[in-house]
Symmetry: C2
Subunit: 415 residues, 2 copies
Amino acid sequence: MKNFFQLISSQEFLTLFKDFNALEAETLELKHALGRVLAEDVQAPEQLPPFSRSTMDGFAVRARDTFGCSDSEPALLQIVGEIAMGSSGQDLVLQPGQTCKIWTGGELAAKSDAVVMIEYSHQLDEQTVEFLKPVAPGENVILAGDDTKPGQKILAKGRQLRPQDLGVLAGLGLTSINVCRKPVVAIISTGDELVPPEKKPGPGQVRDINSTTLAALIRECGAIPHQVGIIPDNLEAMLTACTKAVADSDMVLLSGGSSVGKRDFTLKVFEKLQDTTLLAHGVAIRPGKPTLLAKTKNKALFGLPGHVASAMVVFYLFVRPLLLQLAGQTKNRELLCIEAVTGEQIPSAIGREEYVRVRLDWPEKTTTPVASPVYGKSGLLSPLVRADGLLVIDRDCEGMDQGETGRVLLFPGRS
Amino acid sequence: MKNFFQLISSQEFLTLFKDFNALEAETLELKHALGRVLAEDVQAPEQLPPFSRSTMDGFAVRARDTFGCSDSEPALLQIVGEIAMGSSGQDLVLQPGQTCKIWTGGELAAKSDAVVMIEYSHQLDEQTVEFLKPVAPGENVILAGDDTKPGQKILAKGRQLRPQDLGVLAGLGLTSINVCRKPVVAIISTGDELVPPEKKPGPGQVRDINSTTLAALIRECGAIPHQVGIIPDNLEAMLTACTKAVADSDMVLLSGGSSVGKRDFTLKVFEKLQDTTLLAHGVAIRPGKPTLLAKTKNKALFGLPGHVASAMVVFYLFVRPLLLQLAGQTKNRELLCIEAVTGEQIPSAIGREEYVRVRLDWPEKTTTPVASPVYGKSGLLSPLVRADGLLVIDRDCEGMDQGETGRVLLFPGRS
């Protein structure tokens, strides 16, 4: 492998993911499935609702018995019973001119096809009620099968499950479900200057910030971080750690390799790892240029920039979409993108897509936020703490004027 | 308590939360703190970075030694050493005309104030290097304390922790942190027609959908659901269940009380519960009108509409903001609101704020989505599965024309 440095575009980088497959399925109880991704299409085993139900408290009727009635000419019907909640409505067969009391959610009586709301009724005695307003067939009724028909595909493979999806599954009695396994991601920090956060750094040493940040980013997209720890800048030690990480996890992140020397070092590691192909060696974005991507079987190895701000941009642009792909997700793998207006002029260089950290403010009564850059060297953390997302400046754009409309990729958490 | 039915606006409803307090603090390890809320301000115990660091691979210099140099007239400096990663730069004192090798992240040598990138240097022999471009003091350097100064407030009480926040805390050695306890929310389903999802419903019976949906909504905002189960429509049984739920949890949701009869029943329960005050009895929104709110000590009791679609609207508008408040969060308690353009005409009734379930589609090359209503009776689940959020139609608005711009509250999960 030559030590060239061929930049590709962010779009080209994303196409490199096409050969990675979703992880295998596992079966989960519904209550643990929020946010997980369906490993297969789900068909309704039965109809929902199982029978035609009233959506109001009132009287089940044959709709035609109410046709033409009004305040001045009420329809008079005979009350023949009440359908108690949880009892079968079919046991009660309405003859023409008959009605019965019903509650919201109750099963319609046999031969009834609509419900008159209690508000539009006037009960004269135990057995007689008058209605002041006609109802159409199907009014105030959910028909059996309105929600799902037996065999109907209700949720597609690759869907991330939301609360309402779990509701449908519960309604159908599907209390366990096949979802893709959560990806496990190894984080290897490199750097002889690093000590773990719980240690006091000596002269020339700093605490490892990237491992903690990356672990949280991994958790944020529903995957499982595995912090390998800090490995010395030593080829043998790194090869041993990487080989073990590849065996134990679904993806490996190498953090700390942004400088010329460190990038070359990470490259050497990828070169010497068994069955490993280098897929990308630099990407035309800023920050994030020195990103490396390699592949061994279905496992991705990322060489991330060492500066935490750059590593975070690369995580959101590339690592997260691939992680969600491994988790089975087929849509919405990129960050949510909204429109914003720039609060000041923002310069940019031609030739690289730029991702500017911005704070968003919502002025009163509008919903288009104002994006203000949060400047600071990419080795600093405090600008990231103040940022809400990344303003995208295209590759062939010299910058943006104040008041221009642009696209902002929103961080998943809000500041 | 009289059985009146006084509607209040959604804004008035939210002001009822002012007397609820955040839950007590607990101490967590950093790795468990993502998404949790700070129970107190956090000050930096020390400066970050602890010393001035290079942001590039290159040569540490006294900047003035490079002033005026160029391609044609390089500055010639003497190499007096190399600062190995993780060793103190202060052991090496640069005299005028001297330089030393340094790596990204390394501690600057004593008396040096800038770094020349390796790309702009030309090493002549072991001890001599020429520079082709001058650097200004501070160039390619992060100064000690640039990120945080000792005693500086870095994160405020009430903030929900994001990955980058955990990064700062790790950098400062703050590996455990005080956050508010997660709220525990009891869910009580009422309805003699209900069976748990794992049971096959008999005639007139349906599976309980709301408990599963509500539990997932509670989890989605970081709280802990406690499913009490299905309680029969019987005052004694409900009072016993509610009294226990109030004792065991921080909030109680009663699901199933939307119809006239059920609402009156829930009202009776709130009336008879010890030390309980009714705060709201209906809200001028659609769906969600029959929502009840009561308070006992610092605990809220909600009487939710029985239809799952209505219950979900009420959850996102009211239950979620209060839950996040109990969890300590001081900002961003409402759903994210974005602009969208209506895909078709949407009628609405004057006098009630309307929340229309909509699907969002992003046409190519724009970031303002098109909102299309997903109609369906509020007892149905399938429209919810297709919806991405809620289009807000104001109280005094008769509806929206096709192509009008409106506000959409985004569901946290994407479909």
